[in-house]
């Protein structure tokens, strides 16, 4: 177990390091190919005074010569960047000159809350639907569950959200407030925008909608692993042991099915991050996704890079967690 954990940790670190380097390298390439953002600062076509350009470059940490050689990996600035990150310095925004580290401290918890709701939604829905479909394999229920989840998955999540905010949210809120009053839970639940005054309540609906990302995938996975386990020898053994159906399901099927499903959730997490970009943008949730969204719209490359760095860290952590959970669930890995 110990060796397994250590190996996975090292692997995760390596992956993360390379991923961060990749991000850095892409940025460096863009500077090398497209031109120095410091140059863009002066409007591209004008040729600024060299001394002044040097000033701007120093400001953006681009004064290293490597940025003038296309293809140069720019290792020194990379190490500097990592050191900055390690010391909590994520740079500042171009407009407003705000400390990105401080922004992260505000944004990350919001996104985590959003993900909590969507993960719970996704897991519960997929488990129920997948189990249901597996139980009725090959029948109408099976086909309609799969058809419906595929259909839901076919609709881009941000379009569901847009449709929600544009068409449904306002009448629903008005209706709910008519009954329960505007300060009640229900009166806030369906609001078309996130409100910092109700940071949990107004996060539920976007969370649930975001939770439909990958529903078809996960449902399919649940169904497949349930089918595999239902038809497995040890379930037959359990039947032969005279166990009740419920016990067989809970003790012998669900836990075994969890393994591929956990992998799936870890994998879908990355997609949820993508979904969050638009979800948070549409619903006005100040989270990581919207930071990236904003970074793109305002062309704040640093925000985009930091956002992706955080996302990379999270994905690596999640897949590490998944593997450790895996080990916890499966003694075959634990006692390897």
């Amino acid at each position: 177990m110990g060796r397994y954990v250590i190996r996975r940790l090292l692997q995760a670190l390596l992956t993360l390091g390379v991923a961060l380097f990749l991000l850095h390298y892409m940025m460096a390439l863009s500077v090398q190919i497209r031109g120095n953002p410091a140059l863009l600062f002066f409007g591209g076509k004008r040729t600024p005074d060299p001394a002044m350009l040097a000033q701007v470059e120093r400001l953006y940490g681009l004064d290293n010569k490597c940025y003038e050689r296309p293809g140069d990996p720019c290792l020194t600035p990379f190490v500097e960047r990592l050191q900055d990150y390690a010391s909590g310095d994520f740079g500042t925004t171009l407009s407003g000159n705000r400390d990105v580290g401080e922004l992260l401290a505000v944004y990350i918890p919001n996104t985590l809350r959003l993900f909590m709701f969507s993960t719970v939604t996704l897991v519960i829905l997929a488990m129920l639907l997948g189990t249901w479909a597996a139980r009725h394999r090959g029948r109408v229920i099976d086909h309609s569950v799969r058809g419906t989840t595929i259909l839901i998955d076919s609709v881009p999540v941000f379009l569901i959200l847009l449709a929600y905010t544009y068409i449904i949210a306002v009448p629903l809120t008005q209706w709910a407030r008519g009954i329960w009053g505007s300060e009640s839970f229900m009166g806030q639940l369906f609001r078309p925008n996130y409100s910092p005054d109700y940071p949990w309540t107004t996060m539920i609906v976007p969370g649930i909608i975001l939770g439909t990302v990958g529903l078809a995938t996960l449902t399919r996975l649940v169904r497949a692993s349930q089918l595999e386990n239902l038809g497995s020898d040890f379930v037959r053994t359990a039947k032969a042991k005279g166990l009740k159906k419920a016990r067989i399901t809970v003790v012998h099927v669900v836990r075994n099915s969890m393994i591929p499903i956990i992998t799936g959730i870890g994998y879908l997490f990355a997609f949820m991050l993508s979904g969050a970009v638009l979800t948070e943008g549409v619903m006005g949730i100040p989270g990581m996704g919207r930071m990236i969204f904003q970074g793109v719209q305002r062309q704040e490359v640093n925000l985009v890079i930091v956002g992706l760095t955080v996302s990379a860290v999270v994905v690596v952590l999640v897949s590490l967690a998944v593997d450790l959970l895996y080990a916890a669930l499966d003694p075959r890995i634990r006692y390897e």
Partner: protein, 555 residues
């Protein structure tokens, strides 16, 4: 020359206002959700909450309620009315005496006296503080000493922040205080409408405690206005300003508090407005129609001529656009109503002058028939100009912010349909665009927009078309025009100046360096729970605004 300086400063302020008016970040701190008579307003991202530091609409919307200036602009007429000032008098338009009402206090108990104003003015006028509204003091005697020529750019540590050689003078020599409640201002040259400026943020007072710790003051301003922050304001989260119990001024609000909610884009508030969570909001383009058609909503609509204009500039420095007939042809070929239909009715109105009607001296219809869609005339004019160069495309340049591309695509469609010219839209980032436009690198008509800093037609003429062919974006230069502007600058009364500026506008119409397209229309809606909603035509925000001292919450 003096007038020139203020115009330049104003230009800077306007650019700031245009670029940073929208966007913001709500946040996740538990706010107080109590009802009572708390007004819920939308807001963007303010730059600063200390007078002199904002210079954009969102900051000013907060500052003007938390602080209080010498005068207050009447939202309907735009005229300044004394507020903190007891009286503002002058004999020669150069030396002004301002008497301040006695007994007024800041939120922290400090007195609002002459020193409070001078403290603020000196801070803003002091070049090394690099405050956006510095330029407003360029009319003052002694400004020059505090604002030496900037150091060469390569000596700046931060290229965005200009640096100055050490300045010993930290106080405007033109501002003196004969007694505690009197300010005497000596201008560098006579300026008839000096009092008009005094209601702007640049001239608000600042408390001593505030300057002692500006960082804290940015978060929780110490004002002298009818609203005060009991808790720090957060750019992400917005904040609540409550009515100040001890307010002694003349213009007290009736509401108990105002809660500012932050929205990324101004019109994002519309859905929350419909559910009653925001009290005043401007609908997005798409929502206008349904909002206007909703009989109940339509009753709660405030329509007002706006002041922001959209103009199609011509590159007078480009060979193709030398013939005025061609420029006229393009302008006449634009179906302004049709374009409005594309971007959503009610957001703008067609414009046929260079200064909109809502501005003092504006609405002269100087453009006349050349700003009216007439396909036949357009074709005729194009013929007179010798036709369009064969095989060339009309390149229309825009910056890619918000729906500029849409507006100019519709304009291009209209030109293309009428004149049979193929066109393409070239969109650029704002900084790239600004630079290219300044450098005269655009080889076709381009987008130009303008929002005013104060209520005078001059503000639409000199900053845009003045300064000579090399300095302005259009490459426009005309002796008659320059002469009129110069003369108006030294006119002894405002009325006289206005007329001279109008003459300059007529010159513009002849040369036609640009085609007026639209003037914005302010169109806000408010909830049932509020009434007496008054919107300031110049200083309102892009997403929705109201005079907080006048608005009433119906119980």
């Amino acid at each position: 020359m003096r007038r020139m300086k203020i115009a330049m400063a104003a230009t800077a302020a306007a650019v700031l206002a245009l670029t940073s008016a929208c966007a913001g970040d709500p946040d996740d701190v538990e706010g107080e959700g109590d009802g009572g008579s708390v007004l819920n307003m939308q807001i963007g991202e303010p730059r600063s909450l200390i007078p002199g530091g904002s210079g954009e609409s969102e900051g000013f919307r907060i500052i003007k309620n938390v602080y209080e200036g010498l005068v207050y602009y009447d939202a309907k007429t735009g005229e300044p009315e004394n507020l903190v000032a007891e009286s503002i008098t002058t004999e020669d338009n150069q030396t002004w005496t301002i008497k301040i009402k006695e007994g007024l206090k800041f939120h922290n108990g400090e007195p609002v006296n002459a020193a409070a104003f001078m403290r603020s003015w000196n801070r803003t006028a002091y070049a090394p503080n690099v405050l956006p509204l510095n330029g407003f003091f360029s009319t003052f005697a002694g400004y020059e000493e505090m604002n030496p020529e900037q150091l060469p750019e390569e000596q700046w540590a931060d290229p965005e922040v200009p640096e100055f050689p050490p300045v010993d003078v930290k106080e405007l020599s033109g501002v003196t205080s004969p007694d505690e409640y009197t300010i005497q201002v000596e201008l560098a040259a006579p300026f008839a409408s000096f009092a008009t400026m005094l209601g702007y943020e640049a001239f608000f007072p600042v408390a001593e405690e505030c300057l002692a710790d500006t960082e804290a003051c940015e978060k929780q301003p110490i004002g002298n206005g009818p609203f005060m922050f009991e808790e720090p304001y957060s750019i992400e989260n917005g904040g609540t300003a409550v009515a100040w119990d001890e307010y002694q001024g003349d213009h007290a609000p009736s509401i108990d508090a105002v809660r500012w909610h932050v929205y990324l884009e101004g019109d994002d508030c519309w859905a929350d407005f419909l559910t009653g969570d925001i009290d005043v909001c401007r609908p997005s383009a798409a929502d206008y129609e349904s909002a206007v058609n909703d009989a109940e909503l339509a009753e709660r609509r405030i329509v007002q001529d706006g002041t922001s204009i959209v103009v199609l500039g011509f590159p007078l420095y480009d060979e193709t656009y030398q013939d005025v007939n061609l420029r006229h042809a393009i302008s006449v070929a634009i179906d302004r109503e049709g374009v409005l239909n594309v971007i959503g009715p009610d957001r703008y109105n067609p414009l046929d002058s260079w200064v909109p009607a809502s501005i003092l001296g504006g609405g002269q219809s100087a453009c006349g028939e050349f700003c009216t869609y007439d396909p036949e005339l357009a074709t005729q004019l194009l013929e007179d100009a010798g036709g369009w160069p064969e095989g060339e495309k009309l390149r229309i340049w825009v910056n890619d912010a918000s729906d500029n591309v849409d507006i100019f695509r519709a304009i291009g469609d209209s030109i293309s349909q009428t004149l049979g010219i193929e066109y393409e839209i070239v969109s650029m980032d704002w900084p790239d665009y600004l630079a290219a436009r300044e450098a005269h690198n655009l080889d076709g008509p381009f987008r130009d927009g303008w929002g005013p800093d104060y209520n005078l037609n001059e503000n639409y003429l000199e900053p845009i078309y003045g300064n000579g062919a090399l300095k302005n974006d259009n490459g426009f230069e005309n002796e008659q025009y320059e002469a009129n502007i110069a003369e108006a600058g030294t006119a002894s009364t405002i009325e006289e100046a206005v007329e001279l500026y109008q003459e300059a506008e007529r010159t513009l119409a002849e040369v036609f360096p640009s085609a007026p397209i639209f003037v914005e229309q302010v169109s806000y809606f408010h909830t049932e729970r509020v009434s007496n909603v008054i919107v300031h035509p110049i200083y309102s925000g892009p997403g929705g605004d109201a005079e907080l001292r006048d608005i009433v919450i119906n119980e």
